[in-house]
């Protein structure tokens, strides 16, 4: 199994490189391919089982969009074909239609998902999130400059129970398209949510692979869930 990590030298903010470090513990047999920003993505020719991208700065985001633009149709085909993706934080917006700056200027996204994001660099949004994924509780932390507005037909990833979804009025957090998982939840999300991580491993065909440190992950999850329910 091949897992591609896009541009980890830049897309590594807010502790989210922990997601891939955890996958390495769960899937020691898998081949992890790190593609640098000046390299050729593995997915251009090959079909990795999973493609990961973590949050990045605003200027890197512009470079990443330009880097991926030539691969738009390839990415669409991979999504439609069921390749798994885990895009976290502002990596989600890269696939959207555009990102709007405070002055109204727009940065054109890849246009693969019907959503747009609005930046507000002087008002960072920080919040706790409690929701659900296929019926099980999901938690995470949000810390971001953008608010995201989904268009018609966007399928949410997590249902909001408490906290804020893609925007204050949106009943869901994150985006799902086939096996594309996009979420703003930090944590890292895979270490915070064992059931969600289990579902991702199952999609990768690793149904028989146990979660690394599963008991400890669940112990931490139970304690955190209690805290989230009490304090949110």
């Amino acid at each position: 199994m091949k897992i591609e990590i896009l541009f980890p030298e830049f897309c590594n903010l807010f502790g989210d490189s922990g997601n891939v470090r955890y996958l390495r513990k769960c899937l020691p047999q898998a081949e992890f391919v790190e593609t640098p920003l000046d390299g050729v993505p593995l997915f251009a020719e090959d079909a990795p089982a999973l493609i990961c991208m973590s949050p990045m700065s605003e200027r890197i985001q512009e470079k990443v969009i330009e880097k991926l633009r030539p691969y738009r149709s390839r990415l669409r085909a991979l999504i439609d074909g069921g390749t798994a993706f885990l895009f976290t934080g502002n990596a989600v917006e890269v696939l959207g239609e555009y990102i709007e700056n405070e002055d109204g200027s727009r940065l054109e996204g890849l246009g693969l998902l019907p959503l747009s994001a609005k930046r507000d660099m002087m008002h960072r949004h920080n919040s706790l999130f409690l929701g659900s994924f296929e019926g099980t509780p999901v938690m995470g932390y949000k810390s971001q400059f953008t608010t995201t507005y989904p268009g018609e037909g966007v399928r949410g990833l997590f249902q909001v129970e408490r906290g804020v979804g893609l925007n204050k009025k949106c009943p869901f957090e994150g985006v799902r398209d086939h096996n594309f998982f996009g979420t703003y939840l930090l944590g890292p999300v895979l270490l915070l949510n064992p059931d969600f991580t289990r579902a991702l491993l199952d999609i990768l065909g690793a149904q028989n692979v146990p979660l690394a440190f599963e008991e400890d992950l669940r112990g931490a999850y139970a304690q955190r869930l209690k805290d989230f329910r009490e304090k949110m």
Binding site: E9, F10, N12, L13, F14, G15, D16, S17, G18, R21, Y22, K25, S57, E58, R59, I60, M121, R124, N126, L128, Y141, S143, F145, L186, G187, P188, L191, L192, F213, D216, L217, G219, A220, Q223, R224, D227, F228, K231, M232
Partner: protein, 466 residues
Amino acid sequence: MRKNLRFYLALLCAKGTAAGLRLLGRKATNMPGSCAIRLCPDFLGRMPRPTRVIGVTGTNGKTSTSNMVEDMLASCGYDFICNGNGSNVDTGVAAALINHSTLLGKPKKDLAVFELDERSAPRILPYLRPDILLITNIFRDSYKRNAHVEFILDILNRYIPDSTRLILNADDLLCAGIRPENPRVYFGIDRQPDDGDTCRNIVQDVRVCPQCGGKLTWDFVRYHHIGRAHCPACGFASPSPKYRVIFTDPARRTMRVELAGVERELPLPNSSTINVYNSLAAVALLSEFGLPAEKLAAAMDKLAVSETRFNEEKVNGRSLVMHLAKGQNPIACSRAFENARDYPGKKSVLLFLDDFYDATHSVESTPWLYDTDFEFLNDENIASITVAGARHWDVFLRLLMAGVPREKIAHSGDTGRAVELTPTDGVDTVFILYDVFNIRFANGVRDQIRERLKALPPKEETAHED
């Protein structure tokens, strides 16, 4: 900006608040400043500034460095305004100016030294217009507040006035590249025996040449992005420091320094690399301010060796160390963990990383744990690790992810159990790593551990390298 009626009203109100606080026997910290800025949002722009203003900012080390600068200036007989007892945001600066001004706002002293929060730069720098600004370094800090380094750099580049003379860290390419058109000097530490050729940390925020975006070649890496590099493609290189440490001699507590081309020996209050940077930065700043080298050396000699971030005591032949590890700040914590690892002998380590305030009112954020090098604590000389606090499960999981054997870790949400969970037999040192918000609690734990160490049979001190 001119003084208007609103300004005078704000000043009057702030002065009244300060007088009221004094009458109540309370220290006048931020409150007069908050009051003034609430009434007159551009108060700092209208308040007359002292003739000379020195600022100290940067992610880590700004408090230690400004304390050092203030102590040295005071021992040289300078009288100045500072915010050492207040906060480093706009209200703290305003409060300090108000407290040392006449009824009409005229400053009573000609010189001011301010520690400045980098995130607050937009509300301070354009008004205060420091003559000299020292920037210690630029690193990732609280994600909620400071987001990422590009965000902080953009703020500094935008709000530092053209006329401000900069004193920058030559070994930090993020810091060294700030406001390239401003007058500037650099400080740096030559390659030292512990420096490596590659980065040994999770976080490294300088990945490409700042000039051409090409691949950098590192001459050496100290930690994270601190080190020296050059670009084979365009010829860019880390700048040459005017103030440089050539080597340190911890046994004699001295450092060999080149100051503007002249080599000399200076006292070294504390030999950990971070403190060498802080001392060097203070020396560079005061040299640029105009203190002659002889006076500098004499002032450094008088600096207390006591260091709030790192306190060690001997109990019955064993060491008890208190070390600050700022929660939510991955770099400060990684440095602390590395210090714990490098401290000689077998160790028991206690971790109190929760921000008590955050833990009480909210669920403290965990992402920073995964940017922090807990891997340093996975070391054969660390015999046990005790984790106590609200997020103990998350820290425990992080330690497992770092490869620490689970039998070495004890964790509990009940901080009262921290002492009983920590083995003190068979170790040379108990190392307490605590967040600044729970210093009182950590001190209590230290006292209990001290009693336990006292009750143990005395231990022969083993000789070790410092």
